[in-house]
């Protein structure tokens, strides 16, 4: 196999060129743009150095902090909810009950629903006057909510709508669970332990790599929430669901302040990088890799 390098580069050329054209190039361009006052409707564009970043952090732009706060709140609620519920559902699916594959299909099905359609369905389910959720709550005598239309409940409501689409995460957990050797559980049977000690001492430690993978992916995804803000809430009420990427889109594409929006994009990038790094760092103390002990 001579000329490996030539053929290697030939086969991977589309991907490499694509990376340069659609990822690395735009990344550098966006960093450069963030140092300008580029605006489609302005004749002149000037270098402004770090002015955009100063404007961001200096407190002049209240909406920046608002969107940051809203997004952190969303991530803080959503990541644990997605991980815990997906894991619990995967545990249920992992029991060898009859009809397992049907249950699996039902739980995965919502994740293929287009975001716009899903938003439409939830808008209607959560309708304060005529929606299913409120009529179910009032039927059993529980207090109803204004869901997407009240300042305090809008972010948790959006989290709720996204929980419908956890199917992919559940399936990855399920794959992790099915990789646990049966003998481990038999050892606990011999020791007379019950389901709780199995869960505590075998299942959870053995799926920590999967928990880790799912947590990283969920964090990255949650920071970038956009469709829900655009379709469901338009950032409201009173900017209480002004998610970061929605604010970025609004600044860059509606208000055409693309230099400033590029600075917003880079701040988001650094935030996501930081949290991914934190999760990686922390993983050393809680992720168990078979063969390598804790590594």
């Amino acid at each position: 196999m001579r000329k490996g390098l030539f053929y290697g580069l030939l086969f991977t050329a589309p991907a490499i060129v694509g990376f340069l054209l659609f990822t690395l190039g735009p990344m550098i361009a966006s960093l450069a743009l963030s140092l300008t006052d580029y605006n489609v409707f302005k004749a002149q564009t000037a270098w402004v150095g770090l002015d955009n970043y100063i404007r961001l952090f200096g407190g002049e732009d209240e909406l920046f902090y608002q969107s940051l706060g809203v997004t952190f709140y969303f991530v803080l609620l959503r990541v644990p909810a997605v991980i815990i519920i997906s894991f619990a559902v995967a545990l249920l699916l992992n029991m060898n009950v009859r009809g397992k594959s049907i249950f699996r299909t039902i739980i995965y099905l919502p994740s293929i629903v287009p975001a716009v359609a899903s938003a439409m369905i939830w808008m209607w389910l959560l309708n304060p006057d005529l929606g299913l959720l409120n009529s179910a709550l009032s039927a059993v005598g529980l207090p109803t909510s204004n869901w997407l239309y009240a300042e305090n409940s809008v972010v948790p409501s959006v989290v709720l709508t996204t929980l419908w689409g956890i199917g992919g995460t559940v399936i990855i957990f399920l794959a992790g669970l099915s990789g646990i050797p049966k003998q481990y559980y038999e050892a606990i049977d011999v020791d007379g332990g019950g389901w709780y000690s199995k869960l505590r001492h075998i299942t959870i430690p053995m799926v920590t790599p999967t928990i880790f993978f799912n947590t990283i992916m969920t964090i990255i995804g949650s920071f970038q929430v956009f469709n829900e803000a655009y379709i469901l809430t338009e950032g409201g009420p009173n900017n209480r669901s002004l998610f970061y990427v929605f604010y970025l889109w609004r600044t860059g594409f509606r208000d055409t302040e693309m230099g400033y929006a590029s600075a917003l994009a880079w701040v988001l990038f650094v935030i996501i990088l930081f949290f991914t790094y934190l999760t990686f760092r922390s993983s050393k103390s809680w992720v168990y890799y078979e063969g390598g002990g804790r590594s």
Binding site: Y7, L9, F11, P14, L33, A115, V116, Q224, W266
Partner: protein, 276 residues
């Protein structure tokens, strides 16, 4: 996991409850799409349409040119599918079946782009396409697929290619086969199921994409189903019968594709999640 009988029964009940919760929005969607407004608005909610308003679908789909949106979406989906399947399989081959210096480093760098938030590249990409005169065309939505088709797909295919025994290639080399022959005659046929996975994910991803068309398309006649549905919602607020009928019509193709290919979907997700 072996579970005791009462625990199993309890788990079964829990599964039924969870499944019912996941299905409820679908049922709510379908029943609303087949009711007239007065029945939709009755309290407490009714579940069986009386009579079935099949006309909702006709009305919803003709108020806006959903036929054209369907066609538009199909054009983008087909273009993206061709580009993705063609170039992601070739790239994955280069990253797994050919030995070359620096291969794994290049792969790692490219893979890291999966962690990059799309927001970072959004504005320069938009400006670039606009400068080339391709704003309000399908090029920005289709052309990138011809450049590797996304790292997620390359990663998934590479994982699969790595499981194919090397002996196959070596035997072919002895017979005088080059890399292209190996790719076409051996790897591609053996990885049919992985290619189907990639095609299915690409179909759904493109069909469901909202932000891309939102940013790059301006003219109504170029709109996709996702954009059309969003516009429909803006125009016919509170017409829940028609909104739900239109939504159901947009969801239906996805459900069909999923149910037909579901074996591959579940395999595909497992492949990406496990062997990281």
């Amino acid at each position: 996991m072996r579970t005791s009988r009462p625990a199993m029964a309890l788990g079964y009940v829990a599964l039924l409850v969870v499944s019912a919760l996941f299905l409820t929005p679908f049922v709510w969607l379908i029943r609303s799409s087949l009711m007239d407004l007065s029945q939709i608005f009755t309290m407490p909610p009714e579940w069986i349409p009386r009579p079935f308003q099949w006309g909702n679908f006709h009305k919803a789909l003709t108020y806006l040119p959903f036929g054209a949106y369907f066609l538009n979406t199909s054009i983008i989906v087909i273009g993206t599918l061709v580009g993705t399947v063609l170039t992601s399989t070739i790239a994955a081959f280069g990253f797994s079946r050919i030995q070359w210096k620096g291969r794994d480093l290049v792969f790692a760098i490219l893979l890291s782009s999966m962690m990059l938030p799309t927001a970072v590249t959004l504005i320069p990409s938009f400006l670039g396409w606009q400068m080339l005169g391709f704003y309000d065309t399908y090029y920005p939505l289709i052309v990138p697929a011809f450049f590797g088709g996304g790292m997620f797909n390359i990663f998934l295919l590479r994982q699969f290619y790595l499981t194919i025994p090397r002996d196959f290639d070596e035997a072919a080399v002895v017979d005088g086969a080059g890399y292209f022959t190996i790719y076409f005659k051996i790897i591609l046929p053996l990885s049919r199921s992985a290619v189907i996975v990639v095609a299915l994910f690409t179909f759904l991803g493109t069909w469901n994409d909202f932000m891309g068309p939102l940013i790059y398309l301006k003219s109504d006649q170029l709109f996709t189903l996702a954009l059309g549905l969003q516009m429909f919602q803006g125009t016919y607020t509170a017409q829940w019968d028609l909104l739900m009928a239109a939504s159901a019509a947009v969801v239906l193709p996805c459900v069909i594709v999923f149910l037909v290919g579901q074996r591959y979907f579940l395999e595909g997700i497992t492949l990406t999640g496990l062997k990281g």
